[in-house]
């Protein structure tokens, strides 16, 4: 080795050792990876699956993009990674990245949409057509177990609502029928008590039934159409009516028990109850009869 050459040996060795040390440290250090997944047009791709596989250790970490297409994979061991991104309607994207020690890196990824056949274009097959020939989007064809579970829950709750609504009709009719004996000039305490008890049962059943309708899950993207609109609109009449009627009834009951003629706001108990019962009956009919 001549002197000129030996002049470079030491710095080269030091540089080698330095790089080795850094790389060695990089093998055991952690870092993070975040970024955004978009379509080629720049629109954010939500619910895309992002997986980073460490090619040195074989370990994988996965996440999904949020509504804005953002993803974050914190605490990754530094090293060489295979980053794969999959999303319905897009071609899978696989790239290799080197995650070097330090603060988290960011990366923007653009996905290519899967080409769709036009519904009216000739089939690509010569023997038999396939689903891909028909131009439906992957979203349209994709099974959605979560939505099915939501629909199942909705139907289950609305069936209870329906049954309780029907059952409510019985004490409601009985309450209206007993109102004649409860509110006239010649009434007895017993008549009033029977009327009050029936009214209370009606009220309890009604609000239990209403609970199941109100708490039934809403299905996104569904526009309310048809007779169900009338059914829902009528709830704005019988709902407040079912709150008001017992309050007014309690006032009337008290006045009657004191030997007074029903007066003041309590006098509205009867009319409010009739409107409420009428709206409730109409709500039942709105989903029972075709018009």
């Amino acid at each position: 080795m001549n002197a000129k050459a030996s002049k470079f040996v030491l710095p080269a060795t030091l540089a080698y050792l330095l790089v080795s040390a850094v790389l060695l440290r990089a093998q055991t250090s952690t870092s993070g990876l975040s970024g955004t997944v978009t379509s080629l047009s720049g629109a954010a791709v939500s619910a895309a699956s992002v997986t980073a596989k460490n090619l040195n250790t074989g370990q994988s970490a996965s996440t999904q993009t949020d509504g804005a297409g953002h993803f974050s994979l914190p605490q990754l061991t530094t090293g060489e990674y295979e980053l794969s991104v999959t999303a319905p309607g897009f071609s899978n994207l696989i790239i290799k990245t080197m995650l070097v020690e330090g603060v988290g890196g960011t990366i923007d990824l653009a996905l290519t949409p899967v080409p769709q056949s036009l519904p009216n274009a000739p089939s690509s097959s010569k023997t038999e057509p396939s689903l891909s020939d028909l131009g439906f989007t992957p979203e349209q064809m994709q099974s959605n177990a979560k939505e099915q579970a939501l629909l199942d829950k909705r139907t289950h709750m609305l069936k209870i609502h329906q049954k309780l609504g029907l059952i409510t009709a019985a004490p409601l009719i009985a309450t209206v029928a007993t109102s004649i004996g409860a509110g006239g000039k010649h009434t007895s305490n017993t008549d009033r008590t029977v009327h009050m008890v029936l009214g209370s049962v009606t009220s309890d059943l009604y609000f239990t039934s209403a609970y199941f309708a109100i708490r039934a899950p809403r299905i996104k993207g569904t526009e309310t159409r048809g007779p169900i609109r009338v059914h829902k609109a009528l709830a704005w009449i019988h709902g407040p009516g079912m709150i008001l009627t017992p309050i007014l009834g309690a006032l009337a009951y008290q006045q009657k028990n004191n030997g007074e003629k029903v007066h003041g706001i309590a006098a509205a108990h009867g009319p409010v109850a009739i409107v409420t019962a009428g709206a409730f009956g109409a709500a039942l009919l709105s989903v029972s009869m075709k018009f």
């Binding site: 440290r25 890196g105 990366i107 089939s123 010569k126 028909l134 349209q140 029972s288």
Partner: protein, 205 residues
């Protein structure tokens, strides 16, 4: 010392394309060029049929209601090869409109329409039937996660130039697809749900 090392992510794929930042999949070019291929292949294919217009109507009977659900969004194609035509017709379950959103949601629920979003109909017909007045088709229908077969379903066929209009009724039942009859006010609907079919097919080549 380690802090002086550039703390970057080296995007090998990006470097290969000579750009940082937004990464385009390397396969995109191949995919794009692939779109043109089917059309050129189709040019040498046998006769093809494309569904131009369709009205599919299911009928549900309930003691209190008679309901029809209509869909106009079916898509279909047919390919004739060696004297036989293979047809595929697909319609989204959610596309049926009965005039009431609540009822439609219940129908989607009982038919498991979110889990199995498409109704798929396949049939094979001899090419020679294209000139018949009445055709009898064996149908294979996939719906609600089940497959049902209907033998010799009659359809009326009317030719208008390159278009062929067919109409008929598929005698479907809920039991065929293991669907529990939906109920209204605790009363179930009838098992029979005949599906009226009106379609206009266009001979593509």
């Amino acid at each position: 010392m380690s802090k002086s090392v550039p703390l970057v992510i080296l995007l090998l794929a990006t470097l290969a394309q000579g750009s940082y930042g937004r990464v385009r999949p390397l396969r995109s070019t191949a995919k794009t060029s692939g779109v043109a291929a089917p059309a050129s292949q189709a040019a040498s294919a046998n006769t093809q049929w494309v569904l131009q217009q369709s009205t599919l109507t299911y009928h549900v009977s309930h003691p209190l209601h008679q309901t029809d659900g209509v869909s106009h969004t079916a898509r279909g194609k047919g390919i004739c090869h060696a004297g036989q035509c293979e047809f595929l017709i697909v319609v989204p379950v959610k596309s049926f409109d009965s005039g009431d959103s609540n009822r439609d949601l219940h129908m989607v629920q009982v038919t498991r329409g979110a889990e199995f979003p498409m109704v798929t109909v396949r049939t094979r017909l001899p090419e020679s039937t294209a000139n018949d007045v009445t055709i009898h088709a064996d149908l294979e229908i996939q719906f609600a996660g089940q497959t049902a077969h209907y033998q010799q379903v009659a359809f009326q066929l009317t030719k208008q130039g390159n278009d062929s209009k067919i109409s008929g009724t598929i005698p479907a039942t809920l039991a065929d697809f293991k669907i529990d009859p939906p109920t209204l006010l605790t009363l179930p609907v009838k098992n029979e749900i005949p599906i009226k079919v009106e379609m206009t097919w266009h001979q593509a080549q």
